[in-house]
Each structure stands twice: as structure tokens, then as C-alpha cells.
Symmetry: C2
Subunit: 350 residues, 2 copies
DNA sequence: CTTAGCACTCACAAGTTGAGAGTGCTAACC
DNA sequence: GGTTAGCACTCTCAACTTGTGAGTGCTAAG
């Protein structure tokens, strides 16, 4: 067993190296001990630790670096237990629960396949409209002439209101009925279709339908968009294979950008929907992509869920191939989607 | 509009640069035209193309490189259409269909959260026993004394057979019944529980139960294990942030290894189940990890699905922190899993 | 319009140098 | 004995220097 002071010194060296990544010299440790030690003393200890195979020098006169044996010793005996803050734990749990709910495995699968297929880094972004924004409405008749006070409770806490003036009066129990209708529709998440349902049931121009129209319009305006965004970046390491990105700083910068939903969203503004979009170098607003091209296409899975999928590569990429592959892929994805909607595919094999 | 020869030269330059990544000099193109041209001619053309802003030199005497404008021109007008081989298309479709079926979003979510949490590259590997291996059985009585010929159809095509000898004879309609039972169980994927069901229904030692036992044993032996493996590598770019991996070749090598299920599987051999395993540098068999540490833990979701999840980082990593985070994460995952099984969590908010 | 030839430019790799960090050793000190 | 100060020594790293080769632009002739 190591004497106490050696242990302490080793531990200090390891931790210093862990956090700084710089080889540790005898002077670096000067301030780190209760009892002040001179650098020479530390040097002596260090050289003994080196003899024991716990420290290593990269060259004769460099600081020392822990050996693998030292790490092992550290892990098994020396290191303190790290205590996670309860805040940290809590955020971890939240994150996990959200992720599990929101993960979009179709798009993930897509981005994996695209990356593998094109041999480039692929990016997929899905934007899902959660649509759970409107919670409840309340309609309050103000007089018999057709003035209404409408309240919309949105997004958990906030409230919007408006006075609605009807051209022809509507009986107050109709108003109650409408309130009920709408709240039920909200609860069941079929608010979008209510409009047409009412128009069909009561006639396009019936006072009731007009009122409903009015109220639904108001609700629509009040909607605060609640989006859920997921981003998949696959095959990041493929980028490194291009000589343009042999500079790690550049590669890291680009990858970080492509891993950030906000940045990607900006990149795909003004995309032609359904076409293969090609953005060459500085055609991408973002300076991080000034030497990269982004070939992508938009894709919408259903009303509430849109996405983009594409690849990033150096401007010197094989555009023809990438374009063809992406196009083929999207058309294939459409087929799959189609089959799924019709409920054909996706059973176990017969 | 560009004269024909200029177009051709530009196109050739772009395509040469796309595939070689080397600035293109006038001599490089010598062999590329039907009508032989001297390098001087090409030089003249190139210098005109440069004046038009389509080519660029990195320095006075280097080859030329297409400008972004040139790429745009190329994409819009010059490039040939790339035609995908039908083989390529087919493999794409297959890949996609498999991926969609096999994606394990829990583990993906987990690996994302872990990467974000620890700020390191995370790796998750899931091994799922598909268990759909046995397709059908057939039992054929050979004589009245209790000899049976059993056929098991496994894994789509292959067949195994065995002669089973019963200690006491079983009536032949019982045998038909058993065949029916088992095939039903196979079809419904509850073969595992059939054993106990029969024992309970017919008595532990009844001839029928004994026969069933025998046949089920045979089936079990015949099982060819069909595994499905999925691997998730998240936060690959985080590795680049460590100075140890500022060398792109090294980083790429490591990432490629960690992205390969086979390699990862080898790494986690002899893992202590349920513990946090720490493999420091060369403790990992694989030389690609000789300067990296792999901290991981095993995790089993249910009978048929096992996985590992962990992080890779340079040997100089904060082991204490990583260990604590991973431990906390796994215990949290267990909770979630638990809740899920009991059917508690995962509703919409109230 | 095309080509051959030549002078010129510049990046890159190899070699050189000096400063700085860190060591090991020795001798003195407690 | 353990600890410290001091000094010579080693080695890396960055800055600078140099020579070579690739590739150009220009000119003059075909």
C-alpha cells in the first residue's frame, strides 16, 4: 500500500491532469497541499511514483502524466465519490421522460439510412405541432343583441379574451351548447375538424355556424404554437473523412451547428417544399457552413408533423449522386408512409 | 451562356476536384478531352474561367479550384443525372424497413440523454432476441408403443428432426392436440409459457405433460438464436473537444470503432452485469481504445432484450463524475421501466 | 486560335535556432 | 533521515530560413 503522502500527491496529479489535460510539473502542485512542500520534494516523490510505474513522462523534460495503472488505482481506491445534485437528477429524469415521448423513430431511421447510403453526415429535423395549446374556452353572453365575451385559456396559464359581435342574435342555450362542443373537441384533440362538422350539421350560413366560425377563428389566432423539435445527426464521423475537415476545430464547429435545432431551422428557411434543395457554401446564411454544402428536402408526415432530411458535406461533394440518392430515398419514404396509412405493410411476415 | 468548350472544361475541373480533392492544374486535364488540347490552351481557358469568377486559386501558383458560383452552375446546368442502380434502390428499401422495425427508441433516448448529461460521446448497444425462430412443428406417431417422429421447422427454411421415445404411450389424438397447442403458441408468440400452462392443466407428471416437456425441450434445443442488434452513438462531436482527439485520424478511428456493433460487443465481453464497468486504456482489448476509457453498464429491458450503455472518453476523464452519472441514470431508467410495466406513468398531463 | 518555352511565384517540407519548462543531482540544512 | 535550494542538462515547441517543385502568365512562333 502506498504511503499517505504519495497517495495524496498521485491523486492531486491525476485530478490536475483530468481537468487541465496538461502534463503536471512539480511546480504546478505547489499550492495543493495543506503542509507546504517545496517543488524539489514533490519532484522526489514524483520520480519515485514514476519508478513504480504510476507516472509517465512523454519526454525527458516534460511534466508527468498518470499511467493507465495509476488511473486504475485512482478508480479503485483514490477517487472521491461524486455526488449528483438533486437538481441534476431531476433535470435528467425530465429530459428522459420528454425524450421518450417525443422521439420520432421514423425520422431517426431515415437519417441513419441516408447517412449510411450517401456516406455523408446526415441531418434530420422533425418539427411536430403538439397542438395541445388551447385548454378551454368560455363564452359569456353580454346582452340579448348578440354581443359575446369570449375567453380562451391557452398554454397552461395565459388567457386571451375578445368581444365578439354577432350579426344576428343566437339563443343563449345555443351558446352554451357551442361552448360544450368546443371544449369537448379540445379535450379530444379534434378541434381542427370541428369547423367543417358544424358547417355540415347546421348549414354553412346558419347563425350557429357563423358564430362557431367566429369563435374558432378567435381560438386559432390565440393559439400559441407549441412545437416539439427533434434533431438527428447521424454519421458525424463521416465528415472527418473529408480532407476539408481534417481541421478539428472546423469540423467540430460545423457538427455543433448541425446538432443545434435552432441553427438547422434557420438553414432550411425558404426551402422549396418537396424538392431537393441544394445550398452551396455561403448560400447558407450561417458562416459555419461557408465551406460546406447542405443538400436536403422537406418531408411532411402528416398535418402536424413536418421535417427535413438531408446531408452536409464539403462544397466539393458529389452533388449529382447526393441529389439522386436523396430523391430516391424520399420517394421510397413516401411509399412506406402510404402503405402504412392504408394499413398494409408492417405486419409480421405471413 | 458559356461556349461549349469552356463548359466542358469547367465540368471536367469540377468533377476532378470532387473526386480527388486536389486543386486542378492545367496538366491534370490533359487526357480528358476527345480533341487533344495542350496544357497551354487549357491554361488560357482556365484563366478566362477565373476571370469570370468560376475558378479560384488558393495562391498564385497552385492549381485551380471551383468557386461556389461554379458549383451552383454545375448543379443547375452542367451535371449529369446520377442514376441509381436498382440494386442500390432495393437495398435502401430493405434497410429502411428493417430499421423501422428494429429501432429501439428507449435506448436511443437513453444514449442521447447520457451524452448530453455527461458531455461525452455515448454508446448504447441493444441486443434483442427476436425469438421468432421456430415456425412450426409436426409430430408423427410411428407405432403404438410411444415412438414419435418430431419435426421442427426453424428459421424460415431449415428443418430439424428427432425421434422421441415415450415411457408410456399417449393416444394419437392427444398427440394431434399437442401439435395444435404448440403451433398455436408459436403463432401467438407465447411458447415460453406453454410449458407451465400444460403442467398446470394436466398435472405435472401426466403422460401428456411429460410428452409436452419432451417436445418443448427439443424445440428449445433447435432454436437458432436470431438476434437483432442496434447501436446508438450520440454526441460524437464531443470527442473532438478533447485535445487527445484533436488528431482527426485518431478520432475517426475511435468513432468508427464505436459505431460498429461487432467491435462494441467485443469490448463489453465479461462485463459485470448491473455494475458500472470501467475499462481504462489498454484494458480494452481493442487497440483503437488504447488511449480511451470506456465506462459502461449493462441493462436488461426484459427477457429478450439486453443492452449496454456507456460513454467513451480519453483516459483522462472524470471517472468519479462519469460513474456517478451513469449509476444515477441507470437507476432512473429502472424506475421508468418499472412504472411502465405497472402501467402507471406515461399518460398525458392531467 | 493554338502551342512551346521560359521566367516567376508561392506553398510546403526539411533543417536551424533560441527560449522556456521541467527534470535530476548534489550539497547544505533541520 | 527527510527537506530544500541551486544549477546544469534535456527536450519540445515555435519562429525563422532555405530549396524544391508544381503551376502559372506571358511572349513569340506556328
Amino acid at each position: 500500500m502506498l504511503p499517505n503522502r504519495k497517495q495524496l500527491i498521485l491523486k492531486t496529479i491525476i485530478e490536475s491532469y483530468i481537468s487541465s489535460a496538461e502534463p503536471v510539473g512539480s511546480k504546478t502542485l505547489l499550492g495543493s497541499f495543506d503542509k507546504p512542500l517545496s517543488s524539489a520534494t514533490i519532484r522526489n516523490e514524483m520520480s519515485e511514483l514514476e519508478e513504480m510505474g504510476l507516472l509517465e513522462k512523454q519526454h525527458v523534460s516534460s511534466g508527468r502524466v498518470p499511467s493507465n495503472t495509476a488511473y486504475r488505482l485512482y478508480v479503485d481506491h483514490l477517487m472521491d465519490q461524486y455526488r449528483m445534485a438533486s437538481l441534476e437528477l431531476e433535470s435528467m429524469r425530465k429530459e428522459m421522460e420528454n425524450k421518450m415521448r417525443d422521439m420520432d423513430s421514423l425520422l431517426l431511421a431515415a437519417s441513419r439510412v441516408v447517412s449510411k447510403l450517401t456516406d455523408h453526415t446526415s441531418v434530420a429535423l422533425s418539427t411536430k405541432n403538439l397542438g395541445e395549446d388551447v385548454r378551454k374556452i368560455e363564452l359569456i353572453p353580454m346582452d340579448s343583441a348578440g354581443m359575446l365575451y369570449a375567453l380562451v385559456l391557452i398554454c397552461e396559464k395565459s388567457v386571451r379574451n375578445r368581444v365578439i359581435k354577432l350579426s344576428s342574435p343566437v339563443p343563449s342555450d345555443n351558446i352554451h351548447a357551442l361552448t360544450g362542443f368546443i371544449n369537448m373537441a379540445i379535450a379530444e384533440g379534434r378541434l381542427d375538424r370541428l369547423n367543417t362538422v358544424i358547417a355540415q350539421s347546421f348549414g354553412e350560413n346558419s347563425p350557429f355556424a357563423v358564430l362557431a366560425q367566429e369563435v374558432l377563428g378567435f381560438i386559432n389566432e390565440s393559439r400559441c404554437e407549441r412545437f416539439n423539435v427533434e434533431l438527428y445527426l447521424e454519421g458525424a464521423s463521416k465528415l472527418l473523412q473529408n480532407r476539408e475537415y481534417h481541421d478539428v476545430r472546423k469540423a467540430g464547429e460545423l457538427l455543433d451547428h448541425m446538432a443545434d435545432p435552432g441553427s438547422v431551422r434557420e438553414l432550411v428557411q425558404n426551402a422549396l417544399p418537396g424538392k431537393i434543395n441544394i445550398r452551396i457554401g455561403p448560400e447558407n446564411e450561417d458562416p459555419a457552413l461557408s465551406e460546406a454544402s447542405f443538400v436536403f428536402t422537406t418531408y411532411s408526415f402528416d398535418q402536424n408533423s413536418r421535417g427535413i432530411i438531408g446531408i452536409v458535406a464539403p462544397t466539393r461533394m458529389d452533388y449529382a449522386k447526393a441529389k439522386a440518392q436523396l430523391a430516391a430515398f424520399v420517394s421510397m419514404l413516401n411509399d412506406i408512409q402510404h402503405k402504412k396509412e392504408k394499413g398494409i405493410g408492417e405486419r409480421n411476415e405471413p
